[in-house]
């Protein structure tokens, strides 16, 4: 830098320069917490991957802003046959796919795109899947690969999907990220040019923002989709994801206005963020549940009295204060209160260590019996500090004469072993996927879920029948009756002790308008704007 000319040019450029971009005022930076693996959402399951794809795509139906109901998106409406097995989708007219450096669409969105999207996931022999083999974990996880019998078009703007069995949560499932509609024309182009893997790194969708560039571990850039079918939802010129793994650094960036929306603050930081006049913090009950799962296949937890004793010896209020630091709501039921069909008549057994002791004695459990309690090694929205929670439970249960040994494993191993039922008692939880009660009562506690998400290894025929019946009925009132009975039964049988639903605290700049917190933890920027 000895050249005085270069130096002076640089200095003057630095001094004279105004804001970095002419449209900086209308660019929003979102401090996200991780690098997405790619943008072909059907391949992935994490919130990080879903968030990164959210601005790019639409689905046939989408979740209403801030809610759990599925509302029309690329399908303007749908009809369901009387037997509940045939779904007819009427597609939106005039929707354009993104024009990018790597693709220029020659036609608008139509039924072929829906067929391509779903047939790729359904048919292992699909040409695109042959050229670019991949799995679709959520699609298969929701058993859609087995339940969707066919996807056909009856005219260019109408698609008919036939199911093998009635699935009351079907439309909710189609609103999830993995069902993002891809361009069949783009897929053809990729096959012809021999670059099918570009579908994952150079995405094309119909969403409110057009993908520009992704620099791993640094940023993702999107530009406004000027041709979006709902122009009222595109209020920013540029949307930038700034990838910041460390929670403290994310919050500092927010305070310095280096980003305007920042993900997942630590509970300890929330009070400080609320006190900052340049920020706002949206507080919303989380659509999640942190709970204790008793392995009913291990003695003595096969006895109802023992489970009841442990349940009533848990001092939930103290746990809420210490573990959730006030950012949690006491849980009494097997799903969160914001889930429709939640039974509000259910209450907790009162905290009573004395009675718990008596119950243990009656069940023949000797004083000083050793049990193991598994504590998750990671922080989760439903449980910000499992180790501390385990220590508090250890002390609670010591009061009723039990010797609790705390066990922990690396997260992958923890999940594997608890799914195999190696634990006595484990701390675990769930965040809702699709807003359907079956995603709680069926996914977590049914007989079929043993070896999967049923960490209590609990199988109650009566409960199972109720939940299975509720899934194949489409009338919501009828379903509600069945689910309420199931919740009552589950509460009586105590396979779990619900602890808390954590509160989601979403800090953002006071200048941001129109941002809503999704119950599913998705971060969407349609309709979001910045005040001057």
């Amino acid at each position: 830098m000895r050249n005085p000319l270069v130096l002076s040019v640089l200095i003057s450029a630095g001094v004279l320069a105004g804001s970095p971009l002419a449209s900086a005022a209308n660019s929003l930076v979102f401090c996200s917490e991780g690098s997405p693996a790619g943008f072909d959402t059907a391949q992935y399951t994490t919130a990080t991957d879903n968030d990164a794809s959210e601005p790019i795509y639409n689905r046939l139906a989408e979740f209403e802003k801030g809610g759990t109901a599925a509302v029309p998106a690329l399908a303007t409406s749908w009809d369901v046959s009387e037997d509940g097995l045939t779904w007819t989708f009427h597609l939106r007219d005039g929707v354009k796919f993104h024009t990018t450096k790597w693709f220029t669409p020659t036609r608008n969105f139509n039924a072929d795109d829906v067929l391509f999207t779903f047939n790729r996931m359904l048919n292992p022999e699909h040409p695109f899947r042959k050229a670019y083999p991949t799995e679709f974990p959520y699609f298969t996880g929701m058993s859609l690969d087995k339940n969707i019998a066919s996807v056909e078009k009856t005219d260019p703007m109408t698609v008919v999907m036939k199911l093998n069995t009635v699935d009351a949560a079907f439309i909710q499932n189609l609103a999830m990220s993995f069902a993002a509609i891809l361009s069949a024309e783009y897929a053809d182009q990729l096959l012809k040019t021999g670059k099918p893997s570009d579908i994952n790194q150079k995405p094309v969708g119909t969403g409110p923002y057009v993908f520009q560039r992704y620099q791993k571990d640094s940023n993702i850039r999107y530009a406004a989709n000027k041709d979006y079918w709902d122009p009222s939802q595109v209020k920013l010129d540029n949307l930038i994801f700034s990838i910041s793994v460390d929670a403290s650094a994310r919050m500092q960036k927010l305070r310095k206005n280096e980003c305007q929306v920042s993900l997942n603050p630590r509970p300890a930081d929330v009070a400080g963020l609320k006190a900052d006049p340049k920020l706002q913090v949206i507080e919303k009950p989380g659509f999640n549940l942190g709970y204790i799962a008793y392995n009913v296949q291990h003695k003595p937890f096969d006895q109802l009295q023992v489970r009841q004793a442990l349940d009533m010896a848990v001092n939930k209020d103290e746990i809420l204060k210490a573990v959730y630091q006030g950012a949690g709501q006491k849980a009494v039921n097997a799903m969160p209160p914001t889930q429709w069909s939640y039974d509000e008549t259910i209450t907790d057994a009162p905290y009573n260590p004395e009675k718990a002791k008596e119950l243990l004695k009656a069940a023949g459990v000797k004083d000083g019996t050793e049990i193991t309690l598994w504590a998750m090694p990671v922080q989760r929205p439903y449980n910000p500090n499992a180790k501390l929670m385990a220590e508090m439970l250890q002390s609670d249960w010591a009061k009723i004469g039990l010797k609790v040994k705390i066990v922990s494993y690396e997260w992958g191993e923890y999940i594997k072993r608890t799914k195999n039922g190696e634990h006595d008692i484990s701390l675990i939880g769930w965040t809702g996927d699709n807003g359907d009660p079956d995603n709680w009562l069926g996914t977590l506690y049914s007989c079929d879920a043993i070896g999967g998400n049923n960490y209590s290894m609990w199988c109650n025929k009566e409960y199972d029948t109720l939940v299975k019946n509720a899934k194949v009925v489409t009338d919501r009132d009828q379903r509600t009756v069945l689910y309420k009975q199931a919740q009552q039964l589950l509460k009586q049988q105590v396979p779990i002790t619900p602890i808390a639903h954590s509160t989601v605290n979403q800090p953002l700049s006071a200048k941001v308008e129109g941002f809503t917190v999704s119950p599913f933890g998705r971060n969407a920027f349609s309709g979001v704007s910045l005040k001057d």
Partner: protein
């Protein structure tokens, strides 16, 4: 000289195989497989799991997997990431310049300050300055990087507002990566003022990453200088009436530099290892963060080949140092 180089190259081959075997074994000893880890609490469909394991070649016996790996390596194929499906080489090539830029800045900071502090401390042996420098460098050496980084952010970025909190550049500058080195890319872009912004972003991470090497270099320079200053030729130089600056910098420092340079060479490893934490605190998109994520996701090809590439780099640096020693000191060259 030729046989010396041949011997050194001969030693590289077993080292290389040792590394491949070690990384291959270690990453597989961590429980869980990539498919299970990706699913987390979600249900893993057994059929899908089996399909995925087959597609990824992870259902084969371990020895076959290792042979596949080595065969691919022999063809120069580093494989592709299980998560992103991008080639490991292209990911490494995109991220490595960020680490190199940070490590170079850190080394520059540590080298200049460390030498200066070491020389002055040696000249003023026993003074308050000497005790101060040695005390601070001991503290610097024992500093937990994570904590140190956050303290600096709190003070300089949040408190005083002098430096940005994290990242390589203000994201409102849209700089297209051409070389991967942000300082160069900003100069090549049509927004040259972004260079100052990038430089601004580099200051704190370079200080944090350079703190430990700085402490090591300062202490090493001091002790080496003290030794050299006692040598006869220094006394001779002084007796000849040379200026004190010439004695210290030309006769003293030049000789004292040899062990210091060895230490600097060794610090390359420390800089790459330390970069993992620094990159995390400052959201610096380098290879440290990349590898940590890959370990978490059980992304076997990335972990195996990422570590292999870094190891090759360290081996290469040491190899060059060895050869240079051979040139500088014939006694080393002839040892068998």
């Amino acid at each position: 000289m030729f046989s010396f180089i041949a011997r050194r190259v001969g030693l590289l081959i077993p080292t290389f195989f040792g590394i491949t075997l070690l990384t291959f074994a270690l990453i597989r000893m961590i429980p869980g497989d990539p498919v299970e880890v990706m699913m987390g609490e979600r249900r893993v469909d057994p059929e899908m799991h089996a399909q995925a394991m087959e597609r990824l070649g992870l259902n084969k016996p371990l020895h076959e997997q290792y042979i596949d790996y080595i065969t691919k390596l022999a063809h120069g194929d580093l494989g592709e990431s299980l998560r992103t499906r991008e080639s490991v080489w292209s990911e490494f090539a995109a991220l490595f310049p960020a680490t190199l830029e940070l490590a170079s800045a850190a080394l520059l900071f540590a080298g200049i300050l460390g030498l200066l502090a070491g020389v002055i401390a040696a000249l003023k042996r026993g003074s308050l300055f000497d005790h101060g420098v040695m005390g601070i460098s001991l503290a610097g050496y024992s500093m937990p990087i994570f904590w140190w980084g956050l303290i600096l952010i709190m003070f300089f970025s949040v408190g005083l507002g002098w430096t940005p909190v994290s990242g390589r550049i203000d994201l409102l500058y849209d700089i297209e990566p051409k070389t991967g080195f942000m300082l160069i890319d900003t100069l090549l872009s049509d927004q040259p003022e972004a260079f100052w912004d990038a430089l601004h972003h580099l200051i704190l991470p370079a200080i944090v990453l350079g703190t430990i090497p700085l402490a090591v270099i300062a202490r090493m320079t001091r002790s080496s200088m003290l030794e050299v200053l006692r040598e006869d030729y220094i006394r001779t130089a002084r007796a000849k009436g040379l200026s004190p600056a010439r004695v210290v910098f030309v006769h003293g420092l030049r000789n004292a530099l040899i062990p210091v340079l060895t230490v600097v060479g060794l610090q390359v490893g420390t800089l790459l290892a330390g970069a993992v934490l620094t990159e995390t605190i400052f959201s610096w998109p380098g290879i440290g963060k990349w590898l940590i994520e890959a370990i978490g996701a059980r992304d076997y090809p990335v972990v195996q080949n990422g570590i292999l590439l870094i190891a090759c780099l360290v081996i290469l640096v040491n190899f060059v140092v060895d050869i240079l020693y051979g040139f500088a000191n014939p006694r080393i060259r002839h040892q068998r």
